[in-house]
Amino acid sequence: MATVVLLTFTGLGLGALYFLIASGLSLIFGLMDVLNFAHGALLSIGAYGTWWAAFGHLPGAGFGGAGFVLAVVFGTAVGTVAAVFLEVAVIRPLYTRPREQILATVGVGLAVPALLSAVWGADARPFPGPKALSGTFGVLGAEVPLNRPVLIGAALVVLVALKVFLGRTRHGLVVRAGVEDRAMVTALGIDVRRAFTLVFALGGAAAALGGALGGLYFGSVDPGQGTSLLIFAFVVVVTGGMNSLTGTALASVAVGLVQQFANYYTTAGLGDVAVVVLLAALLLVRPRGLTGRLA
């Protein structure tokens, strides 16, 4: 029982991490039809930003208490700025060439981790995390590390915030309308390109937050972390039905849980394969993903 509880919490934590990446991916894809291969790089930037700030480069930030919160905020802000820069400098000049937009993000996705490993080394850097979050707590006889519920909580906050933003605000309305029919929104005299930048900023912020909290989950940061998480985020996005936020949330929980349980009860690494096999099976049965709203 204790193992099942621990595995559930770990799977949910991993699912939360996937959701933080996949939510931005599916928003960007839904609105702009751009598959952002640089999204993993944004996560890495967030992780390194947090780590850099917490290691005493930012006054007031550190690995304890309020200093850590400041470091996470700083990392998220850096990731957001990087995402906006990516949209304005790389994606925007290529609006008329959608295929090239994807290829350009591939190039950025290759270059940024390489640059990070050039500056801070290719090896993983330890990410201690605050004392208050490094302990464990007991649930039903299991000792669950505290960072799991922190991740789950962060993902829930992001989910609710995105839902409120999309459902209750005017900008959110433009984004939702753009996902439905971009040409029509443009024809109604609304500048969708502002929404593009906004969506990139939101997605980048979520991914960078995922990077900062991923440091807690893994206990270290390394340049390739973002890219390896990105691939599972792709699986999540396809499973969830490409541009539905709820579908993405459900799929990330499913993928995280399946991966953890299969990794524990079979041999290590088989869980990662099991996720992909499940994806293949799902595509055979329902080619449009879980929620079935494929564009």
Partner: protein
């Protein structure tokens, strides 16, 4: 139809001598791949040094190895372009079929002890079967979903290879090919020239197969799918089967390339299974020019050569002496290649093969602009 051809025929008679000469020139230069091929064929006998491009004489074993790698990747990129440039399918899992050829052949030789020829055939079949199976599943989703699914499949295979199930794949170190199972003429540094010719033969085979299929009726349907899949459907054809045919053909050519790569490097390494490997194929194709006859090949050769030379550059003394702001990015070949890739997309749409045409287009417009400026005065 006749009215359209009439003026063109008259125009040709008007400047007959010029047209005749350019026609003769065109007919003569149409066969340029043949002398190129014979030059490539005799490279192992050459002692010509190419300072800056290669270290030492061109026929030395080290350089032959590099050139052979360039040729293999030229062929591999050409095969990959069958999906990207000819059918419009953006696959991110092409490394899988390449690695399938390498690993299946190597594993059969090591575990079953079969001779190389039989193992290579089985490896090729493994590539065909795998691409048919995964293509059939992946093509059920269209557009970008297909890209993500192929990426996920390749990643799963990559993880599987690195986990080393049952000691078959050799994990992160990979496994060396058994020298006693390989033909003696393809083993050892003194036989590098033979390996080079094998690589050249692979490139020629890929170019021929791609050219032949693209000109065949099925190739026209691929072109139609690339331009507008809906219209192909309206014409009464089912794109799924045609796309699957392109996928399997590209996978087969990649598996064949994997077998040549196994001979060339003497083993299977997990580096060839990673998504970075597929992305480098993508860079090659875009660098050279997607959807053209020679572009992907040129891109593959350029990329492989640059990758090798940039690695040397990064480790050289000239870079170590630079200030750290410049040195740090230069020491990462992947950073340079990623940045180069983005630059090519912006500055050189259509790749390197479009460069002469773009230069030619730029020149007359400048000369034509001059009289315009004179006119108002």
């Amino acid at each position: 139809m006749t009215t359209a051809t009439q003026p063109r025929g008259r125009a040709r008679t008007a400047d007959q001598p010029v047209a005749g000469r350019s026609e003769r020139l065109r007919r003569a230069t149409r066969w340029w791949p043949l002398p190129m091929l014979s030059v490539l064929f005799v490279v192992p006998f050459g002692a010509l040094p190419l300072p800056g491009l290669l270290d030492g004489p061109i026929g030395s074993p080290g350089n032959l190895q590099l050139l052979a790698l360039c040729l293999v990747f030229g062929g591999l990129a050409t095969g990959y372009d069958l999906l990207l440039g000819r059918t419009g399918l953006l696959s991110f899992g092409h490394a899988l079929y390449f690695a399938a050829g390498t690993y299946a052949t190597n594993t059969v030789m090591l575990e079953a002890g079969l001779p190389f020829a039989v193992s290579a055939l089985l490896g090729l079949l493994a590539g065909v079967a795998l691409s048919a199976l995964l293509g059939a599943v992946g093509l059920r989703v269209g557009g970008i979903g297909f890209s993500m699914v192929t990426l996920a499949f390749a990643q799963a295979a990559s993880i599987l290879v690195q986990r080393d199930p049952g000691g078959v794949t050799g994990g992160e170190e990979g496994r060396a090919a058994p020298a006693d199972r390989l033909p003696a003429s393809l083993v050892g540094i003194e036989h590098t020239a033979n390996l080079y010719w094998v690589a050249l033969a692979y490139l020629v085979v890929v170019l021929a197969v791609v050219q032949w299929t693209v000109c065949s009726p099925i190739g026209r349907v691929w072109e139609g799918i690339k331009e507008n899949e809906r219209r192909v459907e309206v014409l009464g054809l089912r794109p799924y089967g045609f796309k699957l045919a392109a996928f399997v053909l590209a996978g087969t050519l990649a598996a064949l390339g994997g077998i040549v790569y196994l001979l060339l490097t003497g083993g299977a390494t997990p580096r060839t299974t990673t998504s970075d490997f597929t992305l480098s194929l993508l860079v090659m194709v875009v660098l050279g020019g997607s959807g053209t006859r020679w572009g992907p090949m040129i891109g593959g050769i350029l990329y492989t050569w640059a990758d090798q030379r940039l690695g040397d550059l990064a480790g050289s003394g000239a870079v170590a002496a630079l200030p750290s702001v410049v040195r740090v990015p230069l020491s990462q070949p992947l950073f340079l290649l990623g940045a180069l890739f983005v630059a090519v997309i912006y500055v050189l749409p259509g790749g390197v093969v479009r460069l002469p045409a773009r230069l030619r287009a730029a020149r007359p417009s400048r000369t034509a602009a001059d009289p315009e400026e004179v006119l108002p005065s």
